[in-house]
Chain length 291, copies 2
Amino acid sequence: MTSKTFAFQGAPGAFSHQAARMYAAQIGDEASYLPCQSFGEVFDNVRSGAATYGVIPLENSSIGSIVANYDLLWSHDAFIVDEIFVPVHHHLIGFEGVRLAEIREVFSHPAALDQCRKLFKQNQKMSARVHWDTSGSVAYVKESGKRELAAIAGEPAAKEYGMAIIQSNVEDYAHNSTRFGLVVKMPADPKNMPSQGLTAPYKLSLVVELAHEPGALAKILHELAHLGANLTKIESRPIAENPWHYRFFMDIEIKDAANDQPLLAALAAKADNMKLLGRYKVAEAFVSQPA
Amino acid sequence: MTSKTFAFQGAPGAFSHQAARMYAAQIGDEASYLPCQSFGEVFDNVRSGAATYGVIPLENSSIGSIVANYDLLWSHDAFIVDEIFVPVHHHLIGFEGVRLAEIREVFSHPAALDQCRKLFKQNQKMSARVHWDTSGSVAYVKESGKRELAAIAGEPAAKEYGMAIIQSNVEDYAHNSTRFGLVVKMPADPKNMPSQGLTAPYKLSLVVELAHEPGALAKILHELAHLGANLTKIESRPIAENPWHYRFFMDIEIKDAANDQPLLAALAAKADNMKLLGRYKVAEAFVSQPA
């Protein structure tokens, strides 16, 4: 049993921390955890070798892509070697014995606040306050000592700081869940790319920049269909240096490993620019609820 | 000359307010303005008739789509009748005579903070603080009376509240600009859809939900190419009630008005669900810097 260090964004008890724990249990390795202030810091710790894995949220079933991480995948030499789906149940967390009607300000990560809009519609006296992290906002409320403050976070965060759940499951959608990517440092030689020798079906994550001409994207997608690959996700992001041009992030399910290299070669030939971001087995939750 | 009321998100002096003023000048109508706390409130004022137009940011050249507005276009019966591109120059705004090195906290709308990341990298003693609006954050700093606070906003906001520009053009990219949509209330009868009788080239905005089968998106894009239409923008958004399924928002340039109805019919036939969101002339800035 080897020991792995997982870098994640947030305070101990954050959903990214939970994703790291679940993944460590899944691969059966001893684990230590490295909380980071920002997603950029997670990527930096993977690059420096301080962390074996970075655990980054890629998309949530209710609010969509965490686009900051797509941009970081583009700009860093990291490689996705696995994905994991984590059910995300949010709770309103505050001081023991506080009633719902007493709460005035609710702190959390903006993504979590976005997943709990109905709570604020139903409780007009509560204001949403942006904080750097879900679990970190529980610590903040505790430190404040103010009983009219609360936080939105998961159950582990309440336990971490010994605070009470005032209302459970405040997420808008009961099946709220987040897909995380596990990233490692990209080796200098692409031939030593991690996760070689996977057996199909598996997924590729990649990004392409296309010539601005009618049908450019259609041609790429036609090529995928022709090689029997299934596009499970597409996300466009602006090329900031080149206004109103876009790059496209894609997840592609490969059903026959023999198509892997021809597909990458075909995309590289048709795109102005292409970067392979990951190759990994299809996680279970994904198969049961396909994209 | 008729009078039009423009609803926008933000305080007077916000970039959405500037977009509304520019658009009013362009169409030559007398204008009044209705500031709103949230994007949802802008749509509500258009639906109720309190505003003739809602002015909503759709995407920014540096940070990408304002996805909240895509979701609101899906859930509301509003129709895009025009688009306008606005150059977005951000300034660090505070009290007269304050030096850069004295500033500790900088308030602004999260989208504006995202467009000015280099400022915070270069000035490690400054912390970014999320506020509801760019111009509103100038008002907030003024009211605080604290000289170590500053805001990020446009020049009109500094004028609006009589505050000083401490550092100008703090946006990461000099060509930073935002594309706004002008929305009106959707008529009960689709035959009375506004902006009928446009001459080509013009744009359609629409959203499709597709069957989850390999190549579904490729087939739609192939259809567009076949009818000589150019996809200028595609954005995927999650269907929150149906985890890991997506709807696709598209902007399509129509070069021959005769293709408009056949194209919509073909898309409606191939999609599980389709909604037309707008039909409008292609704005100038877009032609000079195509997507």
